[in-house]
């Protein structure tokens, strides 16, 4: 108890970084995953195969392997992403460590996002896309105006699960130079070896709160889009 209270800024900073990782890699995976899904269902054979190859590779590889590849193997061959530290907004800039963690999380999560979107697209009756095409809409217009708006409603629950999994997956970054919540837990555990149970408990509560906020947000979205659909 006293461990978390007397070092609460370590605790809060840890969760701030966790949330930061979720936000950055969450948005990036949603965008990239949606593009992948579009490529997968799209008419261009090469893109469709490339997207399905991507999903096969990254959905079937453990996240830890992806992290090791991005954070340890790539710097070995000279790819360190150090250049992101040059880009500064005011005196604030992101570290290469944060960037690498986001790259690893995004590579991994977007494969799952792609599959969630694809299931949503498949849920839209084929007649819808055919009708849109008969009206002369291009593939892009068809996707953005007809298919995706309907698919989006169906994918909110599975996408929420993917993002929740991402939230918990950010804990892997603790072993790759990011002082996020799990790393804060280990630091606190090292400082206060006699209070590990309480520390575990408080870190678990933190994760539950973050995930619950995401879940509540998704319920709100579901409700809103349900009304709009009538």
């Amino acid at each position: 108890m006293e461990a978390v209270l007397s070092d609460y800024d370590l605790y809060l900073k840890g969760f701030a970084l966790t949330v930061g990782l979720v936000l950055v890699s969450g948005v990036a995976s949603l965008v990239f995953g949606a593009l992948l899904a579009a490529a997968r269902v799209g008419p261009i054979w090469v893109l469709s195969k490339a997207a399905s190859l991507y999903v096969t590779i990254f959905r079937n590889t453990p996240l830890l392997m992806v992290f090791i590849f991005v954070a340890i193997a790539m710097p070995r061959i000279g790819i360190t992403f150090k250049f992101v530290e040059e880009i500064a907004v005011g005196d604030w800039s992101i570290s290469a460590f944060f960037f690498r963690a986001c790259v690893a999380l995004t590579l991994y999560t977007s494969a799952f996002v792609c599959e969630a979107f694809r299931s949503g697209i498949n849920a839209v009756p084929l007649g819808q896309a055919e009708a849109a095409r008969a009206l002369g809409l291009t593939f892009t217009q068809n996707m953005t105006n007809v298919v995706m708006p309907q698919a989006l409603r169906a994918v909110v629950p599975p996408l929420t699960s993917v993002i929740i999994a991402l939230t918990k997956n950010t804990s892997v970054a603790a072993a790759f130079g990011i002082a996020e919540a799990t790393s804060a837990m280990r630091t606190l555990g090292n400082r206060y070896g006699d209070q590990v149970v309480e520390i575990f408990f408080f870190i678990a509560i933190g994760y539950i709160v973050v995930v619950e906020l995401l879940a509540l947000g998704s319920y709100a979205l579901e409700r809103r889009w349900k009304v709009a659909s009538r």
Binding site: P75, G177, A179
Partner: protein, 294 residues
């Protein structure tokens, strides 16, 4: 389909190769310490003590580090760990009448040493285990058997000469370790990794400016790759390595201190040191003064 499978295999190979590159350090043969195994040791301990139990059962489980060359290291192909800590363990086991072959070495990492002692997963922890007040609340710590201090490991061409140069720089160590805490207190940006070897890789690749932990551990890494790495700066902390035992067996403290004292006197401690950490030093340091048992 075939292309997909080939690609997956290739990705796997690349990953495997990157992993393999991390694990070939310090498997050189080293001399082990020469100890007399006291075969009727059991008699010399009182009935009901933990030492008597261990001596009767003839085996002991000792937790050591597996990833710190010079201190406690076990390569992928090694049968037993090498380093100063395992040799101290051998000395302690011998006084219980347990031969080196009957010791069961268990890997402990920084984060699980207390819980392994509490759950009885190990009988002793000799794993670069600094003595602190907070730890003494939950486990017993006898010793110290070695005193070291935190230093910096940097690339050979680095400008960093001491801890005053790491202000605002990224410094790596093991996630959650005291070393990382201390580095942060000195103004460095802490970067935690799972193991020391991953951290050394980061120094070599230039993704962090320096690695920090106890000088003894750093010397081990620098000795392996003197062309690319060097240890710099005066120690900026004092770490007193202790031997962890269960808090439920306070009688072990007396036995550990006595055995250590003997090894200081008869030269086995010095021999163990010279076999391991002392390889790159001219002479062994003076044995430290032991804390009295409570």
């Amino acid at each position: 389909m075939r292309l997909r499978r080939t690609m997956a295999t290739m990705t796997g190979l690349v990953l495997a190769a990157s992993l393999a590159a991390c694990g070939d350090a310090g498997s050189d043969e080293e001399e082990s310490v020469d100890v007399d195994v006291n075969s009727d040791a059991a008699e010399s301990f009182e009935e009901g003590t933990r030492m008597r139990e261990l001596a009767d059962q003839g085996t002991i489980k000792i937790g050591v580090k597996f990833d710190q060359p010079g201190i406690g290291y076990k390569g992928a192909t090694d049968e037993v760990p090498t380093g100063f800590d395992p040799q101290v363990g051998t000395i302690l086991a011998a006084s219980l009448g347990i031969a080196a072959d009957d010791i069961e070495w268990v890997e402990t990492i920084s984060a699980n040493r207390e819980s392994f002692l509490e759950s009885g997963e190990v009988d002793l922890v000799i794993a670069s285990y600094s003595i602190t007040d907070a730890r003494r609340e939950v486990v017993g710590q006898a010793g110290p058997y070695y005193v070291t201090g935190q230093q910096l490991l940097v690339p050979a061409d680095s400008d960093i000469a001491g801890v005053e140069d790491v202000q605002g720089q990224e410094v790596c160590s093991v996630t959650g370790s005291t070393s990382l805490d201390n580095a942060q207190a000195e103004g460095a940006v802490p970067r935690g990794f799972d193991t020391y070897s991953e951290c050394v890789d980061q120094v070599r690749d230039g993704t962090v400016a320096a690695m920090t932990t106890d000088g003894a551990i750093l010397l081990g890494y620098a000795a392996e790759d003197p062309d690319n790495l060097k240890v710099v700066g005066d120690p900026f902390s004092e770490e007193r390595y202790g031997i962890g035992y269960s808090i439920d067996a306070p009688e072990m403290c007396g036995w550990i201190n006595e055995t250590l004292e003997e090894s200081f006197d008869d030269g086995t401690w010095e021999e163990a040191f010279n076999n391991t950490l002392g390889v790159s030093l001219d002479e062994a340091p003076e044995p430290p003064a032991l804390d009295p048992c409570a």
